[in-house]
């Protein structure tokens, strides 16, 4: 057994986190910043943070992840990291020539109270920021929130750093996709394009973290949200923020500061959430929905109806990030699967409340925990076994020990590919997700069924 020390009996823990279902804020800020075209993320702290975040993102995407660090020494930790940041900014613009440096803090620089606005201002005043180049920033202390809130803070940093309200609306709609895969961001844009819309999508990691092998290395790939779009977001006619945890802060900032009205939606996973997304987008943009989208929707309904008997009543243990887990719980419940154990590592009582509402509507009560960990999830599974585990790669240890089919979902996925290429948002994404779930469930049936009951046709 890999997790041989995990007991079935659950004891309350107040201090020790075991097998966390979250990581820290700065990596979220780094991921978000990679979704700006020509941007180099910068970690203001000791160099280990940057090395860890780059490694984790690289293992997840199998792509280069460039980011710089202030490389704090003990001296900088005592006297402040201002000099390190200013020289980092000078070196970065000289050597790597990005258009934007997106600085985020760490627990180290936050604990000593480094003042980012004052430091970046000093860099600008002393001529370290070339004409036409930008430095934006976000505060992301690791001891608050999780990687998800770090992402949210950097997305808000983009709005704060760039958005301008000229007083003249540009007719475009902002969509903040939240922490999803490059493939999902691409799919959001595809759906909007089908509706005839030229949206402002930020951040946008498609084309950055799912790149091509051509023999040429571009430190700043062609993808990513252009700075001009970020500036124009202040003149948009509305913002759709997908995910309360990931995207709402930036949208609300644009609402209050730039008078861009915002709507906060769930991530568009599955039928109902995608319906709400398309319907809201239609109304905000004032366009009609083309038949192609209605047809894609119909295909998803068709698959649900065709294979409903295999989904119905299947118990699921689900762990991941708040916005993703809420949307997926609703999707699974809508096809009569039963997510019975649900954990997110990110704190926030609203999560438990939302999940409670979804499962109550489906007619059952689930074990649910915000700020929980995978040790607890495993213990719940030992007490009430499930048919499927859905979560990041670390779940494979539980899946193997308990011999349960396992669907990789969320962050990080360190041992498979596909997430960067094939979306799970929208109707197409729903088809993709259900195909994978079905494959796991039926492969298990094929493995376990007796010879006399072995089926050719499902």
């Amino acid at each position: 057994m890999l997790l041989r020390h995990t007991p079935k009996e659950i004891k309350e823990r107040s201090a020790l986190a075991i097998n966390p279902a979250k990581t820290c804020q700065p990596i979220g800020a780094m991921y978000a910043a990679l979704g700006i075209h020509g941007c180099l993320p910068h970690s203001h702290g000791s160099q280990g943070c940057c090395a860890y975040h780059r490694s984790a993102l690289t293992r997840h995407y199998k792509e280069p992840v460039s980011a710089a660090t202030s490389s704090f020494t003990e001296g900088a930790s005592v006297f402040g990291g201002g000099a390190n940041l200013v020289s980092a900014i000078e070196n970065i613009f000289t050597v790597y020539e990005p258009d934007v440096i997106a600085v985020h803090t760490t627990c180290l620089s936050e604990t000593i109270g480094d003042d980012l606005p004052q430091m970046t201002d000093k860099a600008k005043k002393s001529g370290k920021v070339p004409e036409g180049k930008h430095v934006i920033y976000a505060n992301t202390p690791s001891y608050v929130g999780s990687h998800v809130t770090g992402f949210s803070n950097m997305v808000k940093g983009m709005a704060k750093g760039f958005a301008v309200n000229t007083g003249k609306k540009n007719g475009r709609v902002n969509i903040i996709p939240g922490w999803v895969e490059p493939s999902d961001m691409e799919e959001v844009r595809r759906m909007a394009t089908l509706m005839g819309l030229d949206i402002i999508l930020f951040p946008d990691t498609s084309g950055v973290l799912n790149g091509a092998l051509t023999g040429e290395y571009k430190m700043f790939p062609d993808g990513g949200t252009p700075v001009a779009d970020l500036v124009a977001s202040g003149d948009a006619i509305g913002t759709l923020a997908l995910g309360e945890w990931c995207s709402a802060d930036a949208a609300r900032w644009l609402d209050t500061q730039c008078k861009v009205p915002c709507t906060v939606l769930d991530m568009p996973f599955g039928l109902k959430a995608t319906d709400r997304f398309i319907d809201t987008l239609r109304k905000v943009a004032g366009v009609s929905v083309p038949d192609t989208i209605a047809f894609e929707r119909g295909q998803l309904v068709d698959l649900i109806s065709d294979m409903h008997q295999y989904f119905h009543g299947k118990k699921v243990a689900l762990v991941g990030d708040s916005d993703q887990v809420i949307a997926l719980t609703e999707f699974l419940a809508s096809i009569d699967m039963k997510p019975v154990h649900i954990v997110t590592g990110t704190p926030g009582n609203k999560f438990e409340k939302r999940i409670g509402e979804i499962t109550a509507e489906a007619g059952y009560k689930a074990n649910v925990k915000a700020g929980g960990d995978m040790f607890l999830l495993h213990q719940w599974i030992k007490n009430e076994p499930v048919d499927l585990i859905i979560g990041n790669t670390y779940c494979k240890y539980i899946a193997r020990d308990e011999d349960i089919p396992f669907l990789r979902f969320g962050f990080p996925i360190l041992d498979r590919v596909g997430h960067q290429y094939f979306p799970i948002v929208g109707y197409k994404g729903g088809l993709h997700m259900l195909t994978k779930i079905l494959d796991l469930i039926l492969t298990r049936t094929d493995r376990d069924e007796t010879e006399e009951k072995f089926e050719l046709v499902y």
């Binding site: 280990g48 003990e74 627990c107 001891y143």
Partner: protein
């Protein structure tokens, strides 16, 4: 003309160095110039390189931090210690199972905490009011849940800044439990200039808190410690297989596939064999000073190096039976190795490699490439010190700078009861006269060809330059470097984690490595990068039958 378009024949190493420095601001260029060396080593003259110096802010380094070196590298591979990271969640999360240290916990009742991540997950109120209470509660919860024989505490950056006394908490809990050793490491990420400081902090603490705790005699003959072997991809398993076959007893590996008891019993060995000089040479020194165990440098990377290292160990013990057995094992193992070399050599001979990894591997792996007829054009370490480049003779002259001053040094004296020289001074003198060298390591530079490049703390910009200008057939570094190199169409082999391969140590490991490098440098995939219409964009075409 862009630099990449020039042909290699036009570039001297001095040109390449100048090109790498050209774009830097003057201060950066000066500093990097002292860390980039065109190898002029001749005879006994080894040129000086600047190493173990600060990373430059903003320059994209390959290095990690002190916490990573301490918790990730040194203590990570020990399966029966509960390792609790005291800090916000990230550090514990990132060092959770990511280093591919394998461990054999198949014995009945064996403990294995390596698949677990333990953290105090500090929140803002812990930063404001102090985290000691939470740490104490976390240790208690770990003890109640698992009853381990040892619990280790690792400090992350904010812990040092807010002044949590982790050592006091550890002492208190150790006294409270009575049957569980609790010890703490002040390995905050901002200390030192690289992972190396973390190795030092880890090793010192293990030496002072654990080594010598178990005085029970260990069974077996020809007892050694294997120091600086981390069992990445199963290297340690292969080395243990060979040692066992020779009749040599490895009682303690620091720290691959290791257990608490191995550390506690290390003083019962009669020889320390050092693999990774950088991470652990000082432990070998301390074992000698305190317990009288001599040490030699070994290298099990490369079939010939493995044979040489086995012979060195046999020479030390001076037992005719052991010497004969070692020769038998080498004779038994080598034919399989040679058969694979014969197979791959026509495809690998004359190809070129670059190695930028670790504090020893960039040196050790050159032996494997040499066995395949491949030449190393450039190499360097991420976190090494000058002695790893130039040899141990420079150690007395190394200055302690501001960044190393606060890394704890421990004073070790001969143990009053247990110090016992394993050989008399006459025996040692005789062995030395016969050519066996103790406490000796000549470093990387003397082993590299004239006019090759030796580069300390290589960064992303310089790596890209090197690859564009020299176009090696394979580039070796870590995960962060892997895909930017491969985008340039050059295969990249991870030599920290071996991608998902290994073992590469010992005889079977050498065979694995030859196959892997053959696969990489002769892969068809590098020929697929251009579409037919990109290679031949003209529109008119003729049919083949015309």
């Amino acid at each position: 003309m862009p630099s990449s378009a020039k042909k290699l024949v036009n570039w001297t190493p001095t040109d390449i160095k100048a090109d790498m420095l050209a774009k830097y601001p003057p201060k950066v260029a000066r500093k990097r110039a002292s860390q980039i060396l065109v190898n002029e080593a001749l005879g006994n003259e080894t040129p000086e390189i600047s190493a173990n110096v600060r990373t430059i802010p903003g320059i994209i380094t390959m290095r990690g931090c002190t916490y990573a070196g301490c918790k990730g590298v040194i203590l990570g591979p020990t399966r029966d210690i509960v390792n609790i990271t005291h800090g916000p969640i990230g550090c514990g999360f990132y060092s959770w199972l990511t280093r591919r240290n394998q461990t054999d916990a198949s014995a009945e009742g064996a403990e294995n905490f390596m698949p677990y991540c333990f953290s105090t997950d500090m929140q803002d109120q812990d930063i404001i009011f102090g985290g000691e209470k939470k740490l104490q509660a976390a240790i208690q919860e770990a003890y109640d849940l698992f009853h381990p024989k040892a619990i280790a505490i690792f400090a992350t950056c904010p812990v040092g800044l807010i002044g949590d006394d982790i050592h006091a908490v550890a002492r208190k809990m150790k006294a409270k439990f009575g049957d569980c050793n609790v010890f703490a490491f002040s390995c905050e990420g901002y200390k030192g200039v690289s992972q190396s400081a973390g190795h030092h902090i880890a090793n010192n603490k293990i030496f002072s808190e654990v080594v010598g705790e178990n005085d029970a005699e260990k069974p077996g003959e020809f007892k050694i410690n294997l120091l600086g072997e981390y069992n990445i991809g199963g290297d340690g398993f292969e080395i243990d297989r060979i040692l066992k076959k020779c009749g040599i007893t490895n009682i303690s590996t620091f720290s691959g596939n290791s257990t608490y008891d191995q550390f506690a019993s290390a003083h019962k060995a009669d020889l320390s064999a050092v693999m990774c000089h950088r991470s652990i040479n000082y432990v070998a020194d301390m074992l000698e000073t305190k317990f009288g165990i001599p040490w030699i440098k070994v290298n099990f990377i490369g079939a010939k190096s493995t044979a040489k290292s086995l012979r060195k160990i046999a020479e030390y013990f001076g037992d005719p039976g052991l010497t004969a057995r070692v020769e038998e094992v080498i004779a038994e193992e080598m034919p399989a190795v040679e058969a694979v070399i014969d197979d791959v050599l026509p495809r690998t001979k004359g190809k070129t490699a670059m190695l930028f990894v670790g504090g020893s591997r960039a040196h050790h792996y050159q032996d494997l490439f040499a066995e395949m007829g491949m030449k190393t054009l450039a190499a360097g370490y991420e976190f090494a010190h000058r002695d790893d480049y130039e040899g141990r003779q420079v150690i007395p002259g190394l200055k302690v700078d501001a960044d190393s001053r606060n890394i704890e040094e421990i004073e070790v004296k001969a143990d009053e009861q247990r110090y016992a020289p394993r050989k008399t001074s006459e025996e040692m003198a005789k062995l030395e006269a016969a050519g066996l060298k103790f406490k000796e390591y000549d470093g990387l530079i003397p082993d590299m060809d004239h006019q090759t490049l030796v580069i300390d703390d290589l960064n992303q910009y310089e790596a890209e330059k090197l690859v564009e200008i020299i176009k090696p057939d394979v580039f070796c570094a870590g995960i962060k470097e892997k895909f930017s190199i491969q985008k340039l169409g050059i295969p990249m082999k991870q030599l920290h984690s071996y991608d998902s391969g290994g073992p590469y140590a010992g005889f079977q490991g050498a065979v694995n490595f030859y196959h892997e490098i053959d696969r990489l440098v002769n892969s068809k995939v590098w020929s697929y990068m251009k579409a037919p219409w990109q290679e031949n964009p003209e529109l008119s075409a003729t049919y083949v039958w015309e």
